[in-house]
Amino acid sequence: QPTWVDPAFPMKELNTSHYPATRAAKVAEHYLNYHHGSPSKWFMVHAIERATSEDIPEVGTKYHIQFSVQEQATKKIVENCIAEILFRQTEGQSTPEVNCTCDDLLKIKTSDADHALYHHIKHQPHLVTGTDIPDSQGNIPKEMEPLWYLGGIGASFIMWQQSNESTLYNMAHIHNVKQLNSENDLLAFDYVVLLHEMVSQVKKKKNHSSICPSII
């Protein structure tokens, strides 16, 4: 059982079903995916156990979230994730500062699958491309799944950067993905993705590049 942080400022207990907690947890999810995701590893928030927030004068609001995540490929649930998310009071958008650890995160080993994918793509005669992932019916061809995951990870970086207390982002769709030429060992992809922002219901088209190094 993780010990709860002693707050420097008045702490408010949050309802785990209400949006302040769920939005903060979503930011932690994006952070986790960016740092720990792979073409065979994608995390979604599973359940929020406890959530509190601290209003830090002149700085912003800091959230403490205790939650579990589920890895989507293996369906494994990782309990005891603790995240600290600071939304700074700034003029425009600023990337939330996140500290997040999950006890057994590193126990989900996907290096074999990731290496296999790397070698598979490296030895293709042509550069890999994909469009419309998923299609209208939600179908994703099996061979496109790793690229979907990879797109999600790249998108997680953008979604993390774009998040604040008034947003909740998810990646809605991959318009297309193109493998780029690279002279070294790295695999590089260019993505055009559609992000869905829940609060404004806005769909944002974003371009991002994902690099897949030979050693993950």
Partner: protein, 418 residues
């Protein structure tokens, strides 16, 4: 005569089934015991191959005989020469059998159509409308289709009414697909309509419910938007009305007369949450409001959306809790439990404003303030991995678990009349 007999035998040999082409069934009214004796002696005439459906016993009762075609004239001559009254019950037995067979095939085909409809796939608008007709044809004593008005682009809005009779029984309203890109909701609506129709008479809960309440199900609450998601833009959410400027469409769930143009709604026509020029400006919303008001006995109003896995109660236009909040939250929590029991899918429960965001002009805020106490909004699967583009293989599990939540609410409504 001999040639005719040979032909009959030939025909019988060709077809594996016995045929009764031209056979007639006569109904004979014997006047006295003497005539009865004559008819009884006919029974012993085996060469006539008479098939007595009602045997001669006494003059009080008619005598029905099926006579093979080849012997019809001979028997009639015999009856007439003995002044025995008769009438032709069946002019051609085979024709009756053929009609029966045809009807059987038609019914089987209908059943196959409704049963073979792929509930685990997303369908175009025309397909769903066609399927609704087959459902009505298949269950004419339970299901009827009501046209509650046209959309902006002139499409009909059809509500399926599930009723076992009565005179304006209290009703439960369910709508799916008001935001057209939320495809799992329309698909859930179709599955649910089929579920209600097929379970009535077999499942005690739905049977009890429909014996005292009616259910109204609007599967395509935004037909124009839905057509557009198929033809042009899978992510279309709004209606397709042209208001001002170059942008099309109004968010139909910000257009209701409940805190209209308040928080969570945009006054920018290009926004996906544009509330529209005025409350109920959208004909789709207006059609529903008119229907509900004219009905006058709707006791529960349930709007189904996706995604986020939430079961919400009013209000969205204010974060103040409605007077019945505690009761509604309790019902919601039990419904979410029932839903979760099937596949473990977790739903959060609470008022719209606190659970998801402040959102004014929403349907269940309108219905609650109108006086329909049991107003709920569902956000179905998932929580963002696929979002709006939920794989078709999740349609049926989603519909199945949602049904448990819906049934819980409906049973509660029935048990708590007001």
């Amino acid at each position: 005569m001999k040639g005719l007999v040979f032909l009959s035998v030939f025909l019988v040999a060709v077809y594996s089934q016995k045929l009764f082409i031209g056979d007639q069934v006569l109904r004979i009214k014997a006047e006295n015991d003497e005539q009865i004796s004559i008819l009884q002696s006919l029974e012993t005439q085996e060469h006539l191959q008479l098939d007595f459906w009602l045997h001669p016993a006494n003059p009080e009762f008619p005598v029905d005989i099926r006579i093979p075609f080849s012997n019809v004239q001979a028997v009639k001559v015999l009856l007439e020469s003995n002044n025995i009254q008769y009438s032709v019950l069946i002019d051609d037995v085979q024709a009756v059998l053929d009609e029966e067979q045809h009807e059987l095939e038609v019914n089987q085909k209908r059943e196959r159509l409704t049963k073979s409809f792929n509930f685990g796939a997303y369908h175009k608008l025309e397909t769903i409308y066609g399927w609704m007709d087959t459902l009505v044809t298949q269950y004419p004593n339970l299901v009827s289709k009501i046209n509650i008005g046209s959309t902006y682009e002139g499409r009909p809005m059809y509500v399926l009414k599930f009723s076992t009779g009565g005179n304006k029984r209290p009703g439960i309203w369910i709508d799916t697909g008001i935001h057209s890109r939320e495809w799992v909701t329309q698909a859930t609506g179709v599955w649910t309509a089929n579920k209600i129709a097929t379970d009535y008479g077999r499942d005690s809960s739905i049977t009890t419910l429909l014996n005292s309440m009616d259910v109204f199900l609007l599967i395509l609450a935004n037909p124009d938007g839905y057509a557009f998601t198929h033809s042009n833009n899978r992510m279309w959410r709004k209606t397709r009305s042209k208001t001002s400027g170059s942008c099309i469409g109004v968010d139909p769930n910000r257009n209701w007369n409940a805190g209209f143009s308040g928080p969570g709604a945009s006054n920018n026509p290009c926004s996906d949450s544009y509330h529209g020029p005025y409350a109920q400006s959208e004909v789709e919303v207006n059609n529903i409001v008119t229907f509900i008001q004219q009905h006058g006995q709707i006791k529960s109003f349930i709007s189904v959306h996706s995604y986020s896995q939430l079961l919400m109660v009013p209000y969205g236009y204010t974060c103040d809790k409605p007077a019945d909040y505690q009761e509604l939250e309790n019902v919601g929590k039990s419904a979410a439990s029932a839903l979760k029991s099937l596949y473990g899918t977790s739903y959060q429960v609470g008022n719209i404003c606190d659970v998801i965001y402040p959102a004014s002009g929403g349907s269940i805020d309108w219905s609650y303030d109108y006086g329909i106490k049991y107003s709920f909004a569902f956000e179905l699967r998932d929580t963002g991995r696929y979002g709006f583009i939920l794989p078709a293989n999740q349609i049926i599990p989603t519909a199945q678990e949602t049904w448990l939540g819906l049934m819980h609410i409906m049973q509660y409504v029935q048990a708590h009349p007001y």
